[in-house]
């Protein structure tokens, strides 16, 4: 059940049509339903966070949103394209020009330098001459603070640098929507805070919409305009969305036991 009590104050951007909508989305693996009835809308320019505990289906939901996994039920519209309806393959292919994705590990191509990683989408999808591609890619790397690391291979950089390089590559074609999967996972608090600052700066500078999957409480409170919370449900029951709204208000006002426990780092009695 979605927690009805805390509602986020409508952001100015909410007046415009949503750039992402999910309507009654579900995911089932065999006989096990991971989540169902997930419904939300993301406004342009928002930092929207999908949060929840381990195993609740956050990353699966993100894979559905970026068109890597079709949902077993429901509809998803990204950048005006229904990627779950008839003609979904073509819609997904077209939608991919509107999104950039940073995967949890950065997922940089190991045989290329950071610069080549960022240049690859420019090489394939634009007519920029090689020297222009390189300049654009260097600017992207500079935006994430990796101007001096352009010539390094992915194996030569730290986890935090890999995530920042992943963001630079996701921004290569200046997509209006950026998906980030666990940007703070496994990072020390200082690096994690730096990434949060980077996300907010990029949102301000580029006006991009961010959809971030995380369970890092500090990050959620630092970056999220709005969030939804997933829960994996009790044993044998399907999980789903249990809260939606401004995370700061959820922390202060939610009476849902799992939401309250998540934001206040409390133990929850096993179902």
């Amino acid at each position: 059940m979605t927690d009805p009590s805390p509602q986020a104050a409508p952001a100015p951007a909410r007046a415009t049509a949503p750039i992402i909508t999910a309507d009654g989305v579900a995911q089932r693996f065999g006989s096990r339903t991971i989540f169902r009835d997930v419904t939300f809308a993301v406004a342009p320019g928002e930092v929207f966070v999908i949060l929840g505990g381990s195993g609740c289906g956050k990353s699966t939901l993100m894979k559905q949103l970026i068109g890597l996994r079709p949902p077993t039920a429901g509809h998803i519209v990204v950048a005006g394209r229904d990627i779950t309806g008839p003609g979904a393959d073509a819609a997904r292919a077209a939608m991919r020009r509107s999104i950039g994705v940073m995967f949890q590990s950065g997922a940089l191509f190991g045989s290329m330098t950071l610069l080549e990683n960022v240049m690859l989408p420019l090489e394939v999808f634009t007519d920029l001459p090689p020297h222009a591609r390189e300049e654009v890619a260097r600017v992207k790397l500079g935006l994430v603070g990796l101007a001096d690391a352009a010539g390094l291979m992915p194996a030569e950089i730290s986890g935090g640098m890999a995530k920042r390089a992943g963001i630079a590559r996701a921004m290569a074609l200046d997509p209006p929507i950026l998906f980030l999967d666990e940007p703070s996972a496994g990072l020390d608090p200082i690096t994690s805070a730096g990434l949060d600052r980077l996300i907010l700066d990029l949102r301000t500078d580029l006006g991009a919409t961010f959809v971030v999957v995380t369970h890092e409480l500090q990050s959620i409170l630092a970056i999220a305009d709005r969030c939804i919370m997933l829960d994996r449900g009790a044993f044998g029951d399907a999980g789903g969305m249990i809260a939606e709204g401004d995370p700061r208000r959820l922390r202060a006002e939610s009476t849902h036991p799992i939401v309250h426990a998540f934001f206040h780092r409390e133990m929850v009695a096993a179902a």
Binding site: L68, G100, V101, A107, F109, G110, L120, P121, V124
Partner: protein, 364 residues
């Protein structure tokens, strides 16, 4: 019945009595079970697991608890032992009914289903390769020439020393082995014919394909499998890049290009090995060359090279398919590499059988 335990009921102690305690519990299924722990000096979670398991075995055999039957009858147990027993029962899921093994027909269905899935997956993969090839002109920017050259270098140039060594040894061995029976008929000189025909028609392409499967097919599977595990393939897809065009086609083309070269190198090295043996038998080099020229035709040579190209494409396709089918977890990449080698060698030999039949029917 009362099962009485004594001494230390830890991992070592529980192991000593595990089977005997279960057997006793099952035999006493007609009566209620009580467990006497008065003589136990120490119990840990391993010991508690033994008690929970014994209790479950007793219940599964049709027995119940002694006393009122509402719970296990632990006699002489302190609060710690009772707490450990409760924790073991809960964590081990002994309260739930045990999972039954699937009936044999269900297992058969699973095996057949997996085989069917693998077959349809393979056909779908070939279809995707064909579609990617047709769409290549529109996606030519995704086929990176530097990648293709790197794979050709990795698969071909770097394997030449190994190919030459194995070819030379193979020629040497074949010459020695065939020299013995042929000498009985005074036909030592025809060793050159036999080795040349064997190598050029059959063994050259076959051995080169086996080397390609073991050395390069597994590397293709491991590389792509690692990319899959590291989400690099997903990243490619979300960037609108086609993994078939970027990962599979260059490897496929590289393998098809290098296989004839590898085969020729292996055949030349094999002939050199054979010539070494023949020279040791005091046959002049000119005579050996003349025998080889007389025995081998252009059809033999180009038929062998055509087979090599087909073997190369099969090995590369199976390696790439194994890589893209990599699952999750630390063992997945290793399993993919193994599947690539086994699949590559098996498919090579199957294809060779098909070619043998075809060439026989065509009179080649």
């Amino acid at each position: 019945m009362v099962l009485t335990f004594a001494g230390r009921l830890d991992a070592a102690g529980a192991g000593d009595v595990w089977d005997a305690a279960h057997e006793a519990a099952r035999q006493g299924a007609g009566t209620g079970l009580a467990i006497d722990l008065a003589g136990v000096s120490f119990i840990d979670l391993a010991g508690a697991t033994l008690l929970a398991s014994v209790q479950a075995a007793h219940v599964a055999a049709g027995g119940g608890a002694a006393g009122d039957g509402s719970g296990p009858d632990l006699r002489g147990a302190d609060s710690r032992a009772r707490a450990l027993f409760a924790r073991a029962c809960q964590a081990g899921g002994y309260a739930r009914p045990p999972k039954r093994p699937p009936p044999p027909d269900a297992t058969m269905r699973v095996v057949c289903g997996a085989a069917l899935t693998a077959l349809t997956g393979g056909i779908a993969f070939l279809g995707e390769v064909a579609v990617a090839s047709v769409r290549l002109p529109a996606r030519r920017r995704m086929l990176r020439m530097q990648d293709l050259l790197r794979y050709a270098d990795q698969a071909g140039v770097r394997s030449l020393p190994l190919v030459a060594l194995l070819g030379y040894l193979m020629g040497l061995i074949l010459a020695f082995q065939s020299a013995i029976p042929l000498r009985r008929f005074g036909a030592d000189l025809f060793v050159a014919n036999l080795v040349a025909i064997s190598l050029i028609r059959e063994l050259g392409p076959l051995l080169a394909a086996v080397i390609l499967a073991g050395r390069t097919g597994s590397a293709f599977a491991a590389e792509i499998g690692t990319m899959k595990v590291n989400e690099e393939v997903d990243a490619m897809t979300t960037m609108g890049l086609d993994p078939m065009t970027m990962l599979v086609l260059p490897r496929l083309v590289a393998a098809m290009l290098v296989m004839p070269v590898m085969t020729l190198a292996l055949e030349l090295a094999g002939l050199a090995g054979m010539a070494t043996v023949m020279s040791a038998f005091n046959f002049p080099l000119v005579a050996i060359l003349r025998q080889v020229q007389g025995a081998v035709t252009a059809v033999d040579l180009f038929g062998g090279l055509f087979k090599a190209v087909c073997f190369g494409s099969a090995v590369a396709a199976i390696g790439c398919r194994a890589g893209l089918a990599t699952g999750v977890g630390p063992r997945a990449v290793g399993l993919s590499a193994t599947a690539a080698v086994v699949g590559g060698i098996v498919s090579t030999i199957l294809l060779d059988g098909v070619f043998a039949l075809l060439f026989y029917r065509l009179g080649l």
